[in-house]
Each structure stands twice: as C-alpha cells, then as structure tokens.
Symmetry: C2
Subunit: 507 residues, 2 copies
C-alpha cells in the first residue's frame, strides 16, 4: 500500500488496524499490559479519560434519582448458582478464591493454605450479591423504586484480551434497580439506555445506534437486553453499553419480595445497566487517526497545550510571561459544562517534538507562543482536527472566544465525521448473495475488514442468526428502535419478516 | 447506670460503647455486614461520605502534583515474595485466587476448575505490582519524581472485623512515588502526612496527632512509617492514615533503577501513603453522640433537612412554596469550598419522626417550615450540635447568612469538642504504678475503657514496648513530632530516655 505522507503512528489504519490501535495507545501513553494475565495498567492519561466519563455519567445518574453504594467484591459460589442462565454465562471464565493465606511450602517459597469451606468468585457482575442486600432492604411498595449504582472493578477470565476492549479486570459502573411493576422496570431500563446514548453522542461524539439485542446476544438471565452500538473505523461494531430488563428472574433468585398496595407479597421487578472502560476503546477506535489519539473536547483530560518557543533568556522571559497570561485567561474557564485545562510544555525539546507529542495524545488545541507573535500580542493556534501545519495567528485579546468556538467546532466535527462514516458504511441489503459479498474481506492482509453494517431482514429464528454467524462471523448487533416496520424476507431463509436488523462483525 | 433522659441510640456510649457504635451505623443507615466473610455493604449515606473524602483528598493530591492511575487487582505470588518483611506481614491474611473457572461437580453443583500455574493474591496493598510498572517507567533522573495515586479496593483476610474499622475488603487510596534521593523521598513522605493531617483537622474536624511509628508498628518493608493518630470517645487511639518512607527496599525488590545525573545507574527511593474507609469509622467514633451520627458540615453528604409541617391542603400549598423558595436560596450555594445540599422531607410521618430521622443521620441543620412561620416569613432552625428542642426562629430573608454562620460554628464546635476531649484524657505519666493504674479499666462492664493517652518516657527498646503490650494491651501509638526533647526514665525499665511517646489502647 503506497503512503501519501509520513504519519506519527505506524502502521496506519489501512495497513494494520489491530496493530495501529495498540500503537495509538502506546503513543498517547494511555495504558499497558501487565504481567498479570490479561490485566492492564491504566496510565494517567488513560485514567483521566475514565475519570471524566465517571464524573459526567455520575451526574446524569444522580439527576435521574440514583444513589451510589458499594457491595462486596466476592460472590459466594452458592449465590452464583441461584440463577441458572446467569451461572451458565459466567462460570466458564471467573477468578475463584479458594484459600485465605499463604504458608511456607518447605522449598523456600509459599503455597496457598487455609482452604475456604465455600469458594468465592471475584465479581464478574453483581446481580446476585446486590440482590442479597436488596432482599433485606425492600419490604413494602413504599421502599420502591430502589435506584442504586456502583462504580467497581470487575473480573472475567477472558481468553483473548485487548487493552480497554476486553481485559481480565476492567472498571465499570453497574446500576441495579428494583420496581413495583414490570412497566416501571421497563421504563427505567429504557431511560438509562437513553442516558447512555446521550452521553455517547454529546460527550464521546459517537453516534450510537440504540435498540434491542436478540435472544442469543442478551445478558445471561435477562428478559430483554437493550444496547448502544457504535461503528468503529474498521467498520466493525462495538457494543458500548447495555441496559437489561431482568423481569422477576433475579428477584426470584434473590427473594426480593415486597408487600404491594393490596397488602400481598410479590416478587419485585429489577433492572441492571452498565458501561465500562471499554468506552475508552470505543473512543479511540471511533475517532483516532494515523497521527494518534483524537479526543472530543468534552471528554479530553486537558484541552490546550501551550508551547513556548524561544532562543535566549530575553525571549524566554517575554514568551513565558505571555504563556502565564494565557494560563490566566483559561484559569477556571468553562467550555459548556466542562472545565478547560491547559498544559504548559516548556520541556527542552524542539517545537516540532512538543507539537507532535501533544498531537499523539489527542489534545484538541495547541498554542505556540514565540517572540515575534508576542511582540504583536498574538499567538499561533493549531487544531487537532486540522492538518498539523494549519496554524492560525490569533490576537491574545480574541483568544478566549476563538478557543471556545474552536472547541465547539472540533466536538461537532468529530461527531459528524463518525456519523458520515457510519452512514457511508451502512447498507440496506435484501439479496442474500449481495449480503455474503458485502461481508467478504476485500483485503487479504486485513481479513477482518469487511463491508460495514447491513440493515437486512431477519425472520426472528435463532437458526438463521446462527447460520449467518457460522458462515460469515457476522451477528445481529441490534434491532434498532427507529427501524420502521416493513414487509420483507429473511436474509438467511427467505421467510417473511417485518423488520430489519443491523448485522455486522463485532468486537 | 442511671439515665438522665431517653436517647435515640441504645445502648448509650457509657453503657456499651462497642454496641453503641454498631447502632449508630444502623440508625444512620450507613453500612451493614454482608454474608461474605468480613465484607461490608456500604449504603448510600455511608458511601456519600466516602465520596466526599475522595473528592477533597483527590483535589489535595492533584495540587501537590500527583496523578491517578490504576493497576491490576491481582498480585502474582512471585511478586509478593520479593520483599521479605512485606510478605511476612501480609501472607497470613490474604485472599488467594487459584482457579479460573467453575465446572459441574457431578452432584448438581459447581467446583473450582482450571487451576492456575501460579496463584494470584488479591491486593492487600500494591507496592509490588505498582513497582513492576515503575521499573519500566523510570529510566533516568528526568523521569523523577514519579507521583502516582490509586483509588482502589483492598482485601486482607482479617480475623475479627468491625464495620469501617477493620473489614476483609475496604476502599482506600494508595499513593506511590519514586524519587532521586533519600531527601526527596523523605520530603514527600512528610508532605503527604501533612496533607492527611490538614484534611483530618479541617474537614473531619478530628484533631490528629502526627508523628512516627516505632519499629514494631511500622509498615512491613518500610524504613520509617509516619501516621496521623486520633483519640476516639472511648479514649482508645485509632490510626487514621500512614505515610511510609520505603528507602530503597522496594526499589531493589522491583528493580526500580535510574540513570543519575552522573550517568550511573542506581536504585531509586520510594514512598507510599494511604487512608481508607476506616476514616469513616474515625469520624463516627470521634463525634457521634447518644442520639446518633454527628457529621462535620465540611464532610456531610447533605447539610439541611427541610421539614414541612401542615394539616390541610391550604397549609400544604403555602408551606411547600416556602420550602421550594428555601431550596432555591441554597441551590448552587457554597459553604467555603463545599457545595450545600438540602433534603426536602415531605414523607407522611410526624414532624418529630422526621426530625429524629435526620438527627440520627447527623445532618448538621434542620429547618422546620410550618404555616404560622410562613405567615411571618420565618422558619425554625435547629442545629445538630445543640439540643433537639433548641430551635430558633429565623426570618427567611436572613436564612442564608444564618445557615452559613451556623455551619462554620458547628464545624468549629466539633473540632474543639474533640480537641478538649483528647486534652482532658491525655496525661504525662512518669510513675510506673500510676501508668499501670491509668490503664486499668474503671468499669467492669466495659473492660476496654481505660484512662486515655499517656505521654510517657520510652528508652527505645523493643523489649520495653513488648512488656507494656503484654501486661496492659497498651502500645506506643506515635512518637509525636512536636514532643520536646527532655531527659527522663523509661516507663518500663527506668533507663534514661530523651523523649516521651504516646501510649494507648488502640483499634
């Protein structure tokens, strides 16, 4: 593949997408693999993005009436066994604590000792352990709705791991709520999905699809699973958040009963919903380019890199003075609901090295402050969404307005880019041959890269879904809410179908 | 013991301190024990206090140049074995993960399967796992200082547990830093201890002592451990935070080496420091009374309970209107750096029931809004630090100022109360018989309650410390920084001593 120009990240997306992803993370210094199987170390630049995700979502959860709490990391095996589908879904990949101490192994090392009478599972999700508390907390309809959220670490012994996307340990939030009626629980399930969609669109600048999962893709133990689904730049789908209507399944498993308005006891209705550090993977793959990480301003840990340029002490003095003046301008300044942060980078490196350092980290704006600019009371402003060489002289007097306007434009630019990309790579397909062609790799070097999303009819049969999966490794990612009813024939079996589903390869 | 009046919490502190503690937590709905051995469930009111602790401390850590990151929860056994004192200190009480899945046990249940080649320990502290990353991150003196903090959950298989004070799982922050020189590392160790002391005094209203731990009480693997130490209302000491100078011990164990300014490679100098959910236990035991939880305004999840009182719909309308007006007054209002939150409690309960509900939860202020008050554009203001019946009529026009003033007074009141209590219960003791008498329980029903803190001479010998511990269950809690040098004789052996230490029973 011929290259137009040298890029900061090698390989490029077009050359090797999977490796490009790893290199973007490395170049931005966001995370690294640890020697603990499948566990990552989240470095400060990556963790700061997670903190921003937490802060914004936490505010949204609070506004919708939820309160945070914390439940044990360990789940007794017996709790886990209470919901059959649930245990089936998680038992194959979980960390099991069997001992409570280490003792001398007689060979100069240590061995596990103090065997537990009942093994504990490190939580792969908390429905059963939280359910045990809810059973105590809920007595009457007056106790409902019970709206709880937990920020926690989760462990699933995944076989193939990839930074942020799939790791043995990851960080997440899990909402768990209890309701009087099925309608109330369903309303909550949909409300929280809307919160996720709003967050993904307005903060992460990711135009997610919202809708329902099929039976085979839903959460183990749920009645219905709803999701936000995003398209990555390799045209694969990434499930970015899920909200589950659990019916009375977990209420029965955990004995969450309440006295209703008529004085009778009945099982409550529950929901759960979560997003995780996987969102950082979504963010990277939705926006980043061959020069590294790209961050929408509303989720960036920092917004402006200030790069002083000088040759001698006299220039240094004037230039740094201007830098401090600019820091002052943005001190406690907000871009909408986001506080603006600046990074003064006065390291002993060339201007180009410092510019590229911040380009690779995805900082939205760079401001170069040189002696000639300062003499004219101006600075050079560069945007991460434009070419690195596209700099614009801005008078210091206008800088605040220009920065606020640029941040808004950059945020919109990324969203619109991602939306166009998804639209360009989504096709209504009614012909089975065309469907199979669509999902056949075009490039032998990147067999994972295929056509994109197909909006095709599906009759609802699990067998049809399974056949497509076996033939093409393509699955139904979501049955979108906004997909109109429409007569057609199932892409797999040709039988009558009322609705299209979104088929794609996925992470 | 005769009672002067009925109290909201039974038993009282004087009757049964340990049980009183549990009942305060229950009445304030802060936390409960789970069925998972020694693990607690932190309920919303308790967790909100932890979130406030996190928010304030996190800001202080950031101001002192630290960045947050996240490291794996699992520590390979081989990492753990690298520092001899360290493993000795933690191996006896740790959760060991030995398997990676559950499988059918042939008897209708599940058993652990997929044995790991190397067991993992659930982190009891993270020096060794973080050290493995630091060894990669640090290459040159230019990479130093490296200033990292982690907010995480921790597991120690404690034998006797008590809510917040000692639990198998707890939440904490652990700072880990790397420095060029011993001096730099020591400066960091002391700086972070000062941060903790400032936080405890100004936010938790706890007048902590600061100083050094003796050899027998220091962190396993540390060269020096410094601490903040508080007196609880049963006159026992509670270690509330520690900061460790680790010398080169952990740098050697993890091979954290750097190229110094002369071009030679040498081991770096490291520190670690932490506070945990134990601080919530300290908060409860430092201030709460026989009517329940007491919360300093600067750490309270919410500040004002608004209690409307009415008999009919007409009164209801006027009273609720006034309540909303008051909510408006405090919307986005700050008390110093703390945002004020109000709770409108319009539940179908008597005014007295609602008042006592909030008294037991420790909310600093209660505002009763009744029809006669509203007619006069006034409300009744009650303070948690005064008698429940001490209410004061305040014109709505003056309410904001009165509330701000009251919050400041309450904050100071609690600090001063705690300080007086500690001073009244600290005694310089030079006579061994008096020392032994001081630590003999006065009340046979509460054998744990004793004299308080003794400031007594200690020669520095571990044997003397050990003898006092065996005889009286009294240990040296801290050698305070501000204790003047002074000639005396060791309280245990009578040999010459240059300094007093603080002896006490402790949690």
């Amino acid at each position: 593949m011929s290259k137009q120009k040298r890029t900061a990240i090698e390989p490029t997306r077009a050359d090797n997408y999977a490796e490009w992803y790893q290199q973007v993370i490395k170049a931005a210094d966001m995370a690294e693999n640890s020697e603990v199987r499948g566990c990552m170390v989240i470095k400060p630049w990556g963790y700061a993005i997670w903190e921003n995700i937490q802060r914004v979502l936490d505010g949204m959860f609070r506004e919708t009436g939820h309160r945070n709490a914390y439940f044990p990391i360990f789940i007794p095996k017996s709790y886990f066994e209470k919901e059959a589908e649930h245990v089936e879904g998680f038992a194959k990949e979980c960390a099991v604590v069997t001992h409570s101490r280490l003792e001398d192994d007689g060979k100069g090392g240590l061995k596990a000792a103090g065997e537990l009478t009942e093994p504990y599972i490190v939580r792969p999700t908390s429905e059963t352990i939280i359910g045990a508390s809810f059973a105590k907390w809920v007595n009457s309809y007056r106790d409902l709705p019970l709206l709880i959220n937990q920020w926690a670490n989760i462990v699933r012994w995944e076989m193939r791991t990839r930074l942020f996307l799939r790791t043995t340990e990851f960080l997440w939030q899990e909402g768990h709520t209890v309701h009087e009626t099925a309608e109330d629980a369903m309303e909550e399930t949909r409300k929280m999905l809307d919160v996720y969609a709003k967050f993904a669109r307005e903060y992460l600048a990711i135009p997610v699809l919202t809708g329902e999962k099929t039976e085979s893709e839903k959460f183990p133990g749920a009645v219905n699973t709803y999701c936000i689904e995003a398209m990555m730049q390799d045209k694969k789908a990434l499930q970015s958040g899920t909200s589950h209507f659990l019916g009375q399944n977990f209420a029965q498993a955990s004995q969450i009963k309440y006295q209703n308005r008529e004085g009778d006891f009945e099982y409550a209705w529950t929901t759960s919903w979560g997003v995780s550090t996987r969102l950082i993977g979504a963010l990277i793959m939705a926006h980043s380019d061959d020069n590294g990480l790209v961050l929408p301003p509303k989720i960036a840990p920092s917004h402006i890199a200030l790069i002083p340029i000088y040759r001698d002490d006299e220039e240094k003095k004037a230039v740094l003075e201007a830098c401090h003046e600019i820091e002052e301008i943005f001190q406690r300044q907000y871009f909408e609901d986001i506080r603006i942060y600046t990074e003064l980078d006065d390291r002993d490196l060339t201007g180009s090295e410092r510019n590229w350092y911040w380009i690779k980290k995805g900082i939205p704006l760079r401001i170069e402050v040189g002696p000639r600019d300062v003499a004219q009371r101006a600075v050079m402003l560069a945007r991460r969404d434009l070419e690195a060489r596209d700099k614009k002289s801005v008078p210091i007097a206008d800088l605040k307005e220009e920065v606020l306007k640029s941040l808004r434009e950059i945020q919109d630019h990324y969203y619109n880019n991602a939306l166009s990309f998804r639209e360009e790579n989504t096709r209504k397909i009614d012909d089975q041959k065309e469907f199979y062609r669509y999902f056949t790799p075009k490039n032998v070097n990147q067999p994972e890269i295929h056509g994109g999303f197909a909006a095709s009819h599906w009759c609802g049969a699990a067998a049809c879904e399974e056949k497509i999966k076996e033939d093409l490794k393509v699955t139904i990612r979501v049955i979108p809410f906004d997909m109109p009813e429409e007569a057609g024939s199932c892409i797999a079996c040709g039988k009558a179908s009322q609705k299209r589903a979104i088929f794609a390869k996925s992470y």
